[in-house]
């Protein structure tokens, strides 16, 4: 009897816990809560300010992952160029965005729509844009959901109702053609969002906006944003611009610092030859493009920076948003992947502590000095056909999507991409006003690595040293984000449309399931009413994935580039 009583009491306790957990909006989401990360939630793009893309939830684990099945699906509609966003979860509610900045709040257990918001956008402008109309996510904090738009606005929605609280125009997108595709970052009363840049003749601003009022607090220019930086653009080449910070970085509360990665200068490929300091399209180092920057959260003033690739002549930018914050042996580290496939390890002031490489095929430099970060044996092209294919391909040695650090295993799970490109660099007339949008500076074509085939790989590595524990290969590079969990699992949504679960210690595949279309966005875990869920966005199409059909054929030939779904899994 006593035993029976205990069991019969359990549902009451569970119900109590469930009521607590499901009483949505019971707690406000603030800086301290995002910092802590929380057991059941996913409160910011990178999971927490530590950028681990890790959930401590362990209900789903190697012993039962074979019972993982679809709990519910949500179709956002109008998924032009697929779904690329990172869902968020707070107090039992899942928030996510789709193309055209469509924003949803859903019951995390059932998928029931609590509210939705479809902003009215400048459709004529969006029809002129190349890197559009996908959206890579939202931020939450102070009772609001924040989302950027392709026509240059940052919008705050009431978390409970979806009602617009403020709508701030930050960029004149009609003039510049660029807007916001990346998720914002919320911290300490400020919403930070970076503009597109890279290929356009703007100055790639990053904005700090008052979370309460929507008023702009500061703006930092990633192209010649200081007097010193202006000197690194010879012949007034800052006018051809580029830069930007189109993926969300993170916040270091100990120093009240925003950490952000910046995009490449324009044109992407320069004809300078070796004397890039004085010759070519943009003589000099081109600060602060292809850099990691530390800004004061309150003022936007530059505190420190490291330019990962001075005078980036390969479009291997630093826009990847991961800043993995680690403590080891009394030292504090930041791990940041560069698009080239080199992974930079910094101290908290962005001093270089180590550099390691995740790709096998790389020849834009011979190496990067692990002690100083200096590029060794860089290839600076002159106009004309480049004799040896450039590796990696323009889509990078790593995607803009994120890896995952698991504090239980101490391993960093990160995808690498092995592909190259043929290239003919062209001397072009400077593009200093937006016209036909892009400014590439070369004709190019995707190519396999020398002596091999294109492939991708999931690596389990020490994040500081780069030492590899195991690797899983894929016939086509996966482009989505990686999730690891306290259940000793690593989830990879691949390009063919299959979600894989691997043993975090060994890399053994334990489970897989088809989502019906390719992945190129986020994956998270959260819990509602004591039940763990895995949420992943599916939907292919965009600047990297559009190469898959002509390059790989097969399933990619019929894969839609205007469709997508949020698929949520739980134990059956």
């Amino acid at each position: 009897m006593k035993k029976q009583w205990r069991y019969s009491c359990l549902p009451v306790l569970v119900i109590g816990a469930a009521l607590t957990a499901s009483s949505a909006f019971a707690q406000s989401v603030d800086t301290a809560r995002i910092e802590a990360g929380g057991q059941n939630d996913w409160l910011t793009y990178h999971g927490s300010y530590k950028s681990y893309h890790y959930s401590p939830l362990a209900q789903i684990n190697p012993s039962n992952v074979s019972n993982l099945g679809v709990a519910w699906i949500h179709i956002p509609g109008r998924s032009t160029r697929g779904l690329q966003s990172m869902p968020l979860a707070a107090d039992g509610v899942l928030y996510y965005t789709g193309s055209y900045s469509r924003t949803f709040a859903l019951n995390g257990a059932t998928g029931e729509v609590i509210w939705s918001y479809f902003p009215e956008l400048d459709e004529a402008l969006i029809a002129r844009q190349t890197h559009s109309p996908y959206n890579r996510g939202a931020a939450i904090g102070e009772g609001k959901v924040y989302v950027g738009t392709m026509d240059g606005r940052l919008i705050a929605l009431d978390m409970k109702t979806g009602k617009v609280m403020w709508d701030t125009k930050l960029i004149d997108s009609q003039k510049l053609t660029v807007g916001f595709t990346g998720a914002p970052l919320y911290a300490k009363g400020t919403v930070v969002i970076g503009a597109q840049g890279g290929e356009w003749p703007g100055r790639g601003p990053i904005f700090g906006v008052d979370a309460a009022t929507g008023k702009k607090k500061w703006e930092f220019l990633t192209v010649a944003g200081t007097d010193d930086a202006m000197k690194t653009w010879g012949n007034d080449s800052w006018r051809t611009g580029g830069g930007g910070g189109w993926m969300p970085g993170t916040y270091d509360s100990e120093t009240n610092t925003v950490l952000w990665g910046t995009a490449n200068p324009a044109p992407l490929y320069d004809w300078s030859g070796a004397d890039y300091k004085t010759q070519g399209a943009r003589p000099g180092d081109n600060l602060y493009t292809t850099s990691v920057i530390a800004l004061d959260m309150d003022t936007g003033k530059l505190k420190s920076f490291h330019q990962e690739l001075p005078h980036d002549a390969w479009d291997f930018d630093s826009a990847v948003g991961e800043f993995v914050m680690l403590d080891r042996d009394g030292q504090k580290y930041i791990v940041h992947p560069n698009k080239s496939g080199y992974i930079f390890v910094y101290d908290r002031s962005l001093g270089v502590k180590n550099v390691w490489r995740i790709t096998q095929n790389s020849n834009f430099v011979k190496d990067i000095d692990p002690k100083t970060g200096e590029l060794i044996g860089r290839r600076d092209f002159s106009a004309g056909k480049v004799s040896e294919p450039l590796c990696p391909h323009i889509s990078g040695g790593v995607s803009w999507n994120s890896g995952s650090y698991n504090p239980k295993t101490g391993l960093y799970y990160k995808l690498g991409q092995e592909w190259c490109m043929t290239l003919e660099v062209q001397k072009t007339t400077p593009i200093v006003a937006p016209q036909a949008q892009l400014n590439i500076g070369a004709d190019f074509k995707i190519a396999p690595p020398p002596g091999g085939e294109i492939y991708g790989h999931l690596d389990a590595r020490d994040p500081i040293t780069g030492a590899k524990k195991w690797e899983v290969r894929f016939p086509e590079p996966p482009l989505g984000s990686v999730l690891s969990t306290g259940g000793n699992l690593v989830f990879v949504p691949d390009s063919r449309g299959t979600v894989h679960a691997y043993d975090a210690d060994s890399g053994a595949e334990l489970w897989s399931h088809g989502d019906g279309t390719g992945h190129q966005g986020g994956i998270i875990s959260y819990a509602v009413n004591g039940k763990q869920y895995i949420a992943v966005v599916a939907g292919f199409g965009g600047m990297a994935s559009d190469d898959y059909a002509p390059t790989f054929g097969g399933v990619y030939k019929s894969m839609p580039r205007d469709d997508g779904a949020l698929v949520v899994y739980s134990l059956r």
Binding site: A127, K175, G225, Q426, T428, V432, Q437
Partner: protein
């Protein structure tokens, strides 16, 4: 030998669009002085700056977009696609290029040949 179709006859609206000085909300987004009025546009360069992101190798090979060399599409189709684009695949360039410029682009496409050697 690289193709270099020059566009020399800019319509006034297109010229205005190309030479527009951005009146932007801050120093950070200030734009630049206008280009000279006699600026020419080289369609080969246009592919190297813009079109080649999707139409590889100057339009000679398929990339994100189709191969343009030896395309079976007729001029009306190409003209319409350049002007209006294709949602999620190709931007609309109707506000950027004049009709005369678009005809030059079509002539460039029709003249595309494989690289020598």
């Amino acid at each position: 030998m690289r193709l270099a179709w020059k566009i020399t006859t800019l319509s006034m609206p297109a010229l205005a669009a190309l030479l527009t000085i951005s009146t932007l909300p801050s120093r950070g987004q200030q734009s630049t002085p206008p280009a000279p009025e006699n600026e020419q546009i080289d369609v080969g360069q246009l592919f190297a700056t813009t079109c080649g992101w999707c139409h590889s190798d100057g339009g000679r090979a398929a990339g994100k977009g189709p191969q343009l060399m030896d395309t079976k599409r007729d001029d009306d189709f190409i003209r319409n696609r350049i002007k209006h684009g294709k949602e999620g695949a190709m931007p609309a360039f109707g506000a950027t290029f004049s009709d005369a410029q678009i005809e030059e682009i079509i002539r460039y496409i029709r003249a595309l040949k494989p690289h020598e050697g």
